[in-house]
């Protein structure tokens, strides 16, 4: 009998804590648990509550949450660096970006990818969670062809696909706030009562997360391993999409030539270009070098207003 009771208690907690238990079961859970004789009703309610908290805890941001974090980060970025939304250039940039994104393993995000030139003379590019990708007008000016422009966008798509921005702020405090809000939503539904969501808690969590991502984008940068990982992913993405992966090395050589003249933007937040080239050449085979097509050269010059 004791074995049966132990089994029952164990089964019950497993069902509530991990399996396919339903909400009705949760409602009657405390009294049923108490009836096993191992716990009193107060302990039973506590057990059930912790079980729910464990299962309600989030391990990563949902696609929708990542999108709203990305929107808030972008709102901050754009307040310092306004977008340059020339129709033809914006379309061209988004056609290149979507060509790459569609070849990635994260081709669709909650709100889709958006590629934008931002007004800044500093060489810089960054991406916000969810697929907002920014490249400075100063960087665009330095790039000689479509494949080089694609190389910069591919590096930023890599950060989006790897969720580097979202992961930088994915800490226990954030998930505790999100889980608490989720629990509130669930308990309001079960008890059929109305109640305010955890507005203050979540607004603070969003503010902290935005601050954390901004710090990475504008001052601290991601870890070196994340940057090397983004370069490697970018080279593979360029090859997959039909661009010349060597364009990424070309971009890094352009940056290398600028080192010392400019210490802000990409220079402040990324490893030294020479180190990135060395790392990339160690990890990626450039053996089958493809040539840049004349059609791509022509449209780059036409849209970007460069002389042949």
């Amino acid at each position: 009998m004791r074995a049966i009771r132990t089994f029952s208690l164990f089964s019950f907690i497993c069902l509530v804590g991990a399996g396919c238990a339903n909400s009705a079961l949760n409602q009657i859970g405390a009294s049923a648990l108490a009836s096993t004789g191992y716990v009193d009703s107060q302990q039973a309610a506590g057990l059930l509550s912790s079980g729910q908290k464990i299962v309600a805890s989030q391990e990563e941001l949902t696609a929708e949450q990542e999108y709203y974090l990305g929107r808030a980060v972008s709102a901050k970025v754009l307040s310092s660096f306004p977008p340059k939304l020339d129709v033809a250039k914006t379309k061209y940039l988004n056609e290149i970006g979507m060509t790459l994104a569609s070849a990635s393993d994260s081709p669709e995000t909650f709100g889709g990818y958006h590629f934008v030139v931002i007004d800044s003379p500093t060489i810089n590019a960054m991406s916000a969670p969810g697929g907002f990708v920014f490249i400075s007008s100063g960087f665009v000016r330095e790039l000689p062809d479509e494949d080089s422009l694609a190389a910069v966008l591919a590096h930023e798509i890599a950060h989006v696909a790897h969720k580097d921005g979202a992961n930088a702020v994915s800490n226990a405090a954030l998930f505790s706030a999100l889980s608490e809000a989720s629990m509130q939503g669930a308990s309001i539904a079960v008890s059929q009562t109305s109640g305010a969501p955890a507005l203050g808690l979540l607004t603070n969590a969003l503010s902290d997360s935005v601050e954390g991502v901004m710090e990475k984008l504008l001052t601290k940068g991601f870890d070196r391993s994340q940057e090397y990982g983004a370069d490697l992913y970018a080279a593979e993405l360029l090859r997959k999409a039909g661009y010349n992966p060597s364009a990424l090395v070309k971009v890094l050589q352009i940056l290398e030539a600028q080192t010392g003249k400019d210490n802000a933007g990409w220079f402040a937040t990324h490893p030294a270009p020479a180190d990135r080239i060395e790392e990339l050449q160690d990890e990626f085979s450039f053996a089958e070098v493809q040539t840049t097509s004349s059609a791509r050269d022509a449209r780059f010059k036409s849209v970007m207003g460069r002389k042949g």
Binding site: Q52, L85, I96, E108, A189, A295
Partner: protein, 150 residues
């Protein structure tokens, strides 16, 4: 005790696990005829739509939609049950770890609250970027062909 055992066994036998279903986790997507980004659309789907999963290959998930079989990028779907109102939470037979409550957590509502504390943040420009900085599937497909890309 017997009734509790019956209850446990009953729940195990009757609670569906939704193991063969996926939910669309992006605002909108397309079920394609082939596992290729620019393949023909056989059905448009939106956030929270439930689809019956029939397989998975190379970053694509095979689904049954509208009586036909098609494909979506794996990044566009979630194995978690997506519900839209807290009232639906009680109706769905899944525990919270398998649930996503749409519009909760970071959401439009929290964004509005964040805006009040961050009046210099330019959400108006973000809206403009979302409207203007984009390219349609047809445009990108033409762009790829014209540029000798894949």
């Amino acid at each position: 005790m017997r009734s509790l055992l019956l209850l446990v066994v009953g729940v195990v036998l009757t609670s569906p696990c939704y193991a063969d279903d996926v939910w669309v986790q992006v605002r909108e997507s397309r079920v394609r005829a082939k596992p290729l980004f620019y393949a023909t659309t056989i059905q448009s789907v939106k956030y929270g739509d439930r689809l019956s999963k029939i397989g998975e290959e190379n970053g694509w998930v095979g689904v049954r939609a509208g009586g036909r079989e098609g494909y979506l990028p794996l990044s566009a779907v979630s194995a978690k049950v997506i519900v839209f109102s807290s009232a639906d939470v009680a109706k769905v037979k899944a525990d919270p770890s398998e649930l996503v409550l749409a519009g909760k957590g970071f959401s439009r509502e929290i964004e509005q609250s964040f805006k009040k504390d961050n009046t210099s943040a330019r959400f108006d420009l973000v809206d403009r970027v979302e409207r203007e900085a984009r390219a349609s599937s047809g445009e990108v497909e033409r762009f790829i062909k014209q540029g000798g890309l894949k």
